[in-house]
């Protein structure tokens, strides 16, 4: 890990201390980009919509059709926008959770999908689907329970004396993932054959089945979760350096650990319940945030939340347009980008 200074090129951003001003500016830029993405991506799709009229209708917040036909209007407001908002919530949730797990496990490779935490949430969601199919609200609750159980399992398995080494962390992830995968197979057997195909898609991360009832819940959890972790950013900065150091410097390690466990599991649970396991978002986005803005969680967590939303909106637009009118699961696109980055990070550590 130790290199000579002249060989390592450090971005100037890392030299500047993180201040409130820099955080606010970065977040404002990302928020503006997110807003533009929401508008632009809603114009793209298998059905061509007239751009000018669509922008006009969006600007009126749906109060005026601006000359769009009823079908076009419905495509824009009933299909595309809810899906884009879900993509934003899922991306924001997963990236925030990833940043949280990375600080907690002291390892930039920690990611909800790779650690099997998404699988835990998937098992919970499936149990809700099979046994309480009519009660939609049970899905995020059981998904949260599953994610929390998987988080605790990974944490217990991965944590060594020196924090989670990459090898230990990945092994813990493999163990939890494979175990839960076999549980998923068992539950799948209980489903009827017609649902299995849509189910396989969902497991890979699929935003096409946006549930209107759950959308506000997912969005709320994303915002509350991102705020909760951001408000613990200073503690997480020290936790990232080691639990013992953090304790010595005044962090109530036990309490902060519980906050991250619960909040990150809630974020993963609600996003998996809504969209299945979209992989690698929690790895790619926090990494990019740290690379461009530095490791200080006061800036990297809110930036990862906004960046994650942006990333999944774009990835999902690719997923639904690249072979239109057919669709790919968004998880296939994020994995295509994330897996090579994971290999790169692993080689570097």
């Amino acid at each position: 890990m130790i290199g000579t200074a002249s060989e390592i090129v450090v971005s100037p951003a890392q030299h500047n201390r993180v201040t409130l001003r820099r955080t606010l500016i970065s977040c404002a830029v990302l928020a503006a980009a997110l807003l533009s993405a929401i508008v632009l991506m809603s114009l793209l799709g298998s059905e061509q919509l007239p751009a000018r009229a669509s922008l006009c209708a969006l600007a009126s917040f749906g109060t005026s059709t601006c000359g769009l036909t009823q079908d076009q209007f419905d495509i824009l407001f009933q299909i595309r926008l809810p899906r884009i908002f879900l993509a934003a919530a899922v991306g924001g949730s997963l990236a925030t959770a990833g940043a949280g797990y990375q600080a907690l496990l002291r390892n930039p490779l920690a990611e909800p999908y790779l650690l099997g935490i998404s699988n835990g949430a998937a098992v919970g969601t499936m149990i809700a689907l099979v046994f309480f199919g009519a009660m939609e609200w049970t899905r995020p609750i059981l998904a949260f329970t599953g994610a929390l159980a998987a988080t605790l399992a990974v944490y217990r398995l991965a944590r060594g004396r020196a924090g989670a080494t990459p090898e230990r962390l990945i092994l813990a992830g493999v163990i939890v993932t494979t175990f839960l995968s076999s549980v998923i197979v068992f539950v799948t057997v209980l489903m009827d054959a017609t649902r299995i195909r849509s189910f396989t898609f969902w497991l890979l991360g699929d935003l096409s089945g946006t549930s209107k009832a759950l959308l506000p819940v997912t969005i709320t959890i994303t915002i509350v979760g991102a705020l909760a972790l951001t408000l613990h950013a200073r503690s997480l900065n020290l936790l990232m350096l080691g639990e013992r150091d953090a304790f010595d410097l005044g962090v109530e390690v036990g309490r902060v650990r519980i906050v991250v466990f619960v909040v990150a599991s809630l974020l993963v649970g609600s996003s998996v319940a809504a969209s299945g396991s979209v992989g690698y978002v929690g790895l790619v986005v926090p990494h990019l945030a740290r690379l461009s803005l530095g490791s200080d969680n006061r800036i990297s967590i809110p930036a990862a939340s906004l960046g994650g939303a942006l990333f999944v909106i774009v990835a999902d637009t690719v997923a639904r347009t690249v072979i239109a009118p057919r669709e790919l699961p968004v998880g296939a696109i994020t994995a295509l980008i994330g897996a090579p980055l994971f290999i790169y990070l692993l080689r570097r550590s």
């Binding site: 890990m1 890392q14 350096l241």
Partner: protein
């Protein structure tokens, strides 16, 4: 300032520290020496409230340490231990500012104040790290990193310093530099320091008091001249030693005598 009375600490069924009492006073460095497994680090971790004890009391400013919350303990006691491996890029300045956490008005959120920055700058100067403050921690040499660790502890402005083998892995000049920083803190800021070390001669040179431990118990404690006597050391370390006067300082100098040399 910090006092332990009849401290006993046990892990499961093994007793690590048994009936140890000590008291740290202003402007004094106390060194704990003893063979591996004597309970030195355990004792240090208990004084800081990290390990729970099975008997005895720890008094901080005359009050039981349980009465203080985590952050107020960290404003009074700073710890320098072997550094943990860093897996995230952190600059030296960011690292040192970590020492200001306990002074923040809110425990999780907030920004460093002007005063925090001022303190960080002054400890960076004190540890001669000013020029390196923008560098990443994992670019530093071992000696520089240990100094950054020391700088972070000094940045807490805690009047009590607990150091767990701070000079292990350091060369001769860095060992002296580090202990001189501790000495300066004690002399100029009326701080008290406790140093766990394996280096008996370094302890003899820098410490005002020495606590000699074996099997979790205090074997001897007092001034270096009183503790570092051949018959005592021979008994504790089970090796023949020669103790003479240091030609420059006049303090005790300990040299192990290996059997094959005789």
């Amino acid at each position: 300032m910090l006092e332990a009375r009849d401290l006993t600490v046990s892990y499961d069924d093994r007793i690590a520290v048994s009936d140890v009492s000590l008291s740290l006073n202003t402007s004094e460095i106390t060194a704990i020496i003893g063979p591996n497994g004597a309970g030195k680090s355990t004792l240090l971790r208990t004084l800081n409230g990290q390990l729970s004890r099975s008997a005895g009391t720890v008094l901080l400013d005359g009050e039981p340490i349980e009465r203080f919350n985590r952050r107020s303990i960290s404003r009074r006691i700073a710890v320098v231990a072997q550094e943990a491996e860093l897996r995230f890029p952190v600059t030296v300045l960011e690292f040192v500012l970590g020492g200001r956490f306990a002074w923040a008005t809110h425990s999780g959120w907030g920004w460093e104040t002007e005063r925090d920055l001022h303190v960080a700058e002054s400890v960076l100067r004190e540890t001669q790290l000013t020029d390196l403050s923008a560098r990443l921690m994992n670019e530093l040499s071992g000696g520089e990193r240990q100094r950054a660790l020391m700088a972070r502890a000094l940045a807490t402005e805690a009047p009590i310093l607990l150091l767990d083998e701070p000079t292990a892995n350091l060369d001769l000049s860095h060992q002296a530099t580090l202990l001189r920083l501790v000495r300066t803190r004690c002399d100029q800021h009326r701080a008290a320091a406790l140093v766990v070390t394996h280096d008996i001669n370094l302890a003899a040179e820098f410490a005002d008091n020495i606590l000699l431990m074996k099997h979790g118990r205090t074997v001897h404690s007092g001034r270096p001249e009183a503790v570092l006597r051949p018959e005592i050391l021979q008994d504790v370390f089970e090796i023949r030693v020669l103790v003479d006067a240091h030609p420059v300082t006049g303090g005790p100098r300990v040299t192990p005598v290996h059997e094959k040399l005789i």
